[in-house]
Symmetry: D2
């Protein structure tokens, strides 16, 4: 995988501050477990109040984690005054999201001045095994000098 260099030496602080303002992350109990230039990981302990009708974590939550990881992976490479917003994404659900926890890993595929394309893989940890449960491609947009949004 390509290594990226951030335009902003304070990229990690910037990512962590923005993440801490996402109320939904607190509501579902998601935490930021890795922040590198162009790569962000978000983790979630399994919780029964996030499930669909068969007791698996709802695909909407799986996608929320991947989208947010991709958004901050893109954000980590942006200029200090930029905001990031999700233009669109596509996700394939590969296996039921069951186990002790989920890890979403977002990586920048192609950074750009306006648009950044990312990939997001989500894994379930169960009984010591790590299984890929979802694959995403996401398009993120950089907004300069005005308000924007991740997610």
């Amino acid at each position: 995988m390509k290594k990226f260099v951030s335009q902003d030496e304070n990229y990690e602080l910037r990512v962590r501050e923005s993440f801490s303002k996402q109320n939904l992350m607190k509501t579902i109990g998601a935490t930021l477990t890795k922040v590198l230039p162009g790569e962000v990981e978000i983790s979630l302990e399994f919780r029964d109040d996030l499930t669909q009708q068969h007791g698996f974590v709802h695909a909407g939550i799986v996608a929320t984690l991947a989208d947010t990881a991709c958004g901050y992976a893109a954000f980590s490479l942006m200029a200090p005054d930029a905001a990031v917003l999700t233009v669109e994404y596509k996700i394939n659900l590969l296996s039921p999201a069951v186990g002790e926890s989920l890890i979403a890993c977002g990586k920048v595929t192609k950074p750009g001045r306006t648009l950044t394309v990312c990939s997001g893989d989500v894994f379930a940890l169960k009984d010591g095994e790590k299984k890929m449960v979802a694959a995403m491609i996401a398009t993120m947009m950089s907004l300069r000098g005005r308000e924007g949004l991740v997610g």
Copy 2:
């Protein structure tokens, strides 16, 4: 829009029972506000604990509503013993999800024995106006004679 006929006269009961087992829907406060053959609507009152860093409803929640509406739109046309699972979806975020409430409308584009393709539009209601905030295409799968999942 095409009109569909369900294979199962109890389709509405089936959809409502399955929806009521989705713990995530209770957690976020989403309700089923329309169930027709091939068309399902889900509504959500704005809540501050579902937001991203700028105070808009998180894209992950917007997608959760659209995915679930599409899943049950597909489910409404399936055989009585079928379960439904989300294979994949793609969503474009068109405008910030702000306002008093969100309405996600899922409609079947093409039903099939194994796969059903749906479209999902999400609208925000604000000050008496209805604005489209997201567009989805989703692929749903029917599982016969065994366990499955929506979402």
Copy 3:
């Protein structure tokens, strides 16, 4: 469907001139059969040299038509000096592309200063019947004052 107004009264000429420069359209025999503000239709007579292994029109050609129709639907609403490029698209193939001809209809869902979101439906005409064979959502980008591309 919403009605759009173009920023450029010469939008049709602009679309037709750009289309005429797409060598691929000549190679496959595609023609521009409708140009309205925010809506473009492209037609293709069935040809045996565009098929996949079962004699249907190849999905790649179906997608090419929808992508190009979406691109020019977006382009029709752009400023006179703008160029358009495809950021990304997603397509579902609903039925085999068989028959006498294909019609791809691209429509703008949400125009924007930088990004325009479109939907593209492709229909096959066979024995006097019109059947939907594919559904697309596409994101198009406007480039101002520099080179760009459709497709």
Copy 4:
């Protein structure tokens, strides 16, 4: 990357025979340059009759190559009597497709009895450099005991 084992020792012959029946591949001059279990590569020399209005290879052709590479990557892991069809795909165009040739590499992410999820990367070769120009996620379907289609 995971290594896959085909269910069919004649997988390469099966892939090559099916590919040779795709008239579109002959029309555009695409060739099969790698066939492994779960991984297929398709190459295309640049041709002026496949371009869009700025002289780049049309996105529709880029997608055709990636879709076909993904389809045959999935097909290589299927049972001898299976046919494969493209359910849907999503593609991001990362850079203009310019240069001497294009290489599309399709790889299986998750094989399945009915559905197989693949990723497709397309590269342009120019002046001895290899640059990624597109990223795809595709869903392929296996049809047993009856006719099907790639692409």
